[in-house]
């Protein structure tokens, strides 16, 4: 019975997240449109509200092209690896007190593991497509994800030290529901490092090198079409949401807000996620793209030392205060 109930919850979460992903694309197109003195989608539905659904139907019915010399099994598996890894990380996110599918003690570590796994999808896609642009995109992605995974992990060590746990619910509870309890202030260096690594981890501008369309056509996804391409797209957006959720949980106090919301406790959590999503989009509309070697330089020479210093500082402060 428990398993059945769990399955129902999983299906509900899946459907809700998929709808969010579809409308996140709409959200992004509308916001960027208005930032760029145009309207964004307007044709399908009122102010283009049905556009994501039309896009979904379109990509579903498009021909699925597999290149002649592609490594077929790998080529087919790559997008699925991406999507599955990203969807799995949703399981440990606490949307509100008690609203979590798997309340495991190594939640944070689990999410890191999953987001690293997702990069396998990208690397394999780049390798198996048998296209030089995809290959370069895959290589870039590998280097980028490995470097930024380190700085991201290190940036959260401060949070772990302060909360004394890797359990995401426990991290939120440790911050309490007061404004000053948020780890944003004491962990501002950690937040800074995490925020930049987050952009790099999700391949967003200014770090969208694996799919830099003006350099590598479309990077690792150049040879993908139809639904398989859409799966990469979904994985990217779920990745954005997961990263935004981690930022919310670790630095902005998770589901806590100025007042408790009846009937729908995750409201504050969702609002905070959307705040981060907006910042993602805002940055995309504003900044140019880093170059590959500059990106690596930033990661290794600036972010990792900063994160390490933050760890030492946090540990010392904790030792002194206790």
């Amino acid at each position: 019975m428990d398993i059945l109930l769990m399955l129902v919850w999983i299906v509900i979460l899946f459907v809700v997240v998929m709808l969010h992903v579809a409308y996140a694309t709409y959200f992004e197109r509308k916001i960027i449109g208005h930032m760029q003195v145009r309207l964004g989608p307007m044709r399908i539905g009122w102010h283009g509200l049905l556009q994501p659904i039309a896009d979904g139907i379109k990509s579903f019915f498009k021909e699925d092209i597999i290149p002649e010399n592609a490594d077929r099994p790998t080529f087919l598996a790559a997008p699925i690896i991406c999507l599955v890894a990203m969807m799995t990380s949703l399981a440990v996110l606490p949307f509100a007190r008690g609203w979590v599918l798997a309340d495991i003690d190594i939640g944070l570590l689990f999410i890191f593991a999953m987001s690293s796994l997702a990069s396998y999808g990208v690397v394999l896609a780049g390798w198996s497509s048998n296209s030089k642009y995809s290959f370069l995109g895959g290589m870039r992605s590998m280097a980028q994800v490995i470097s930024y995974e380190i700085s991201m992990g290190l940036s959260l060590v401060g949070v772990m030290l302060m909360a004394g746990s890797l359990n995401l619910s426990a991290i939120v509870e440790a911050q309490g529901d007061r404004f000053l309890g948020m780890y944003l202030m004491p962990q501002c260096i950690g937040f800074f490092v995490f925020f930049i690594s987050m952009l790099a981890e999700t391949n967003r501008v200014p770090f969208d090198l694996p799919e830099a369309e003006t350099e590598l056509v479309s990077g690792y996804s150049t040879e993908y079409s139809g639904m398989r391409y859409a799966i990469f797209f979904m994985a990217e957006y779920i990745g954005m949401m997961v990263m935004a959720a981690i930022a919310t949980i670790c630095f902005l106090g998770g589901w806590n807000g100025p007042f408790a919301v009846p009937f729908f406790p995750p409201l504050w959590f969702v609002l905070k996620i959307y705040l981060f999503m907006f910042v993602f989009i805002w940055i995309r509309a504003t900044l140019p793209r880093y170059r590959y070697d500059q990106l690596m330089g930033l990661g290794w020479k600036v972010l990792i030392p900063l994160a390490l210093a933050n760890i030492v500082f946090t540990a010392c402060m904790k030792a002194i205060l206790t």
Binding site: I32, M35, Q36, V37, R38, E68, N69, A70, D71, R72, P73, W127, S128, N130, S131, K132, F135, L136, V205, P206, D208, A212, E213, T214, E215, L216, V217, R284, A285, T286, L287, P288, R289, Y290, R291, Y292, D293, Q294
Partner: protein
């Protein structure tokens, strides 16, 4: 069924130095500005060898011109640099006028200067838009198009066309400017400086933009001269050469403007040069509007543009029906001389030269176009070698090439 993965790819196993592979970038590639193909030899992402290939847009304009009268060949110049067609038209007309020794009334000179500078602004806006997009800043793209649209509307008001104008004619311009055009242009000039500031706030001091442009694609002044660079690419390296200033044509001698110079010769210097040129172009247009004298818009000895159905029934043997206007001209002015002329004008991309050999006929015996884009593409190999793929894209954007002009 699994096929061998390295069948057509030749990706070597990285087991040391000197492992190279080739990448053909283009002719279908989102950042090669048309149909440029660049054959790259790569070591990782570093470019070891870079060979630009042109010709995908070759339409044989130089040969076509030999079968058209001087007046007819004008329309070919629209299709050279289709982003700044008006500047090409003006350049062509200036060259033919020099060849046939035709005088142009002052009003026509001013109008031509106005439209050529409008064209320069159009071209530079499109350059900035695509250059920024290549480096990843996508919002600048649409901001630039917003202002370019105003200019295209003005061109439409002036001559009915938005892209291929053929508005200037040998010996003047086709139609006079209207008051509405002047008003619209004045409104544009009033807002334009603030718009340039708007673009600059987005990228000018942006740390990432600086990282991507400062010190990249460096060309020293001597190198630039040796490579034959002209326009902003040459001035960005600190060489003071602008045809408008040093061999003035049309009304450029009568207006006051500066030639912005860079010093470093990198992508950022070229970017700054072009941004300054936007200001200078606006300044030139403003002066032209203020000084615009009354008078005719075409000289008395400008060739008639008689349509074929108005041609008198009897046509002399051996002459071209369609070139009647010029037949008249040639007979009247007694141009049965052989000669050649090279006339250069400053188009947005650089120095556009027309070289004519005339055998006294009403058609050019030979027309050669010195197109800046062609020469700039040639320089790409020297500039991009040793840099990264991402820099190659930035360099192509920075050299501001148009393949229609390069391939002619």
């Amino acid at each position: 069924m699994t096929r061998p993965i390295t069948k057509s790819m030749d990706i070597p196993v990285a087991d040391g130095e000197g492992e190279r592979y080739s990448l053909r970038m283009g002719p279908q590639h989102p950042a090669t500005h048309g149909v440029l193909r660049v054959d790259l030899e790569l070591d990782g992402e570093t470019i070891v060898e870079c060979t630009p290939q042109v010709g995908y847009l070759h339409r044989g304009f130089e040969k076509l011109a030999e079968n058209k009268t001087y007046a007819q060949a004008l329309i070919l110049t629209d299709r050279l640099d289709y982003i700044a067609a008006m500047a090409n038209n003006v350049g062509y007309c200036v060259a033919v006028e020099r060849l046939l020794d035709i005088s142009v009334p002052l009003r026509a000179k001013y109008i031509r200067t106005i439209v050529a500078e409008m064209s320069r602004i159009c071209s530079h806006l499109l350059w900035l838009a695509t250059h920024a997009l290549d480096i990843g800043a996508m919002t600048v793209f649409l901001y630039c198009f917003r202002e370019r649209e105003i200019l295209l509307d003005l061109f439409e008001e002036l001559c009915g066309a938005r892209l291929t104008f053929s508005y200037p004619r040998i010996g003047g311009v086709r139609q006079d400017v209207t008051a509405r055009f002047i008003d619209g242009l004045q409104r544009f000039l009033d807002i334009f400086p603030s718009k340039i500031e708007e673009y600059e706030t987005l990228i000018d001091t942006n740390r990432i933009w600086l990282k991507r442009t400062v010190g990249i694609g460096k060309v020293s002044g001597e190198e630039a001269l040796a490579l034959g660079l002209t326009g902003a690419c040459l001035r960005g390296s600190g060489v003071d050469y602008d045809v408008r200033k040093h061999q003035p044509y049309d009304a450029y001698a009568l207006v006051d403007f500066e030639v912005p110079l860079g010093s470093d010769g990198d992508i950022y210097a070229r970017y700054r040069c072009r941004m300054e040129e936007l200001h200078q172009s606006a300044r030139i247009i403003q002066q032209c509007i203020d000084q615009l004298p009354p008078g005719p818009i075409a000289g008395p000895d400008a060739p008639d543009l008689v349509m074929p159905n108005k041609v008198p029934a009897r046509i002399e043997a051996g002459t071209n029906v369609y070139g009647t206007g010029l037949i008249k001209l040639v007979r009247d002015r007694n141009l049965y001389i052989s000669g050649d002329v090279y006339v250069a004008t400053e188009v947005p991309k650089g120095e556009l030269g027309f070289y004519f050999i005339s055998d006294g006929n009403n058609r050019p015996y030979r027309m050669h176009i010195r197109s800046p884009s062609f020469i700039h593409i040639g320089a790409l190999a020297a500039i991009a070698r040793g840099e990264l793929i991402a820099d190659l894209i930035a360099n192509i954007g920075s050299l501001d090439v148009v393949l229609g002009e390069s391939d002619r």
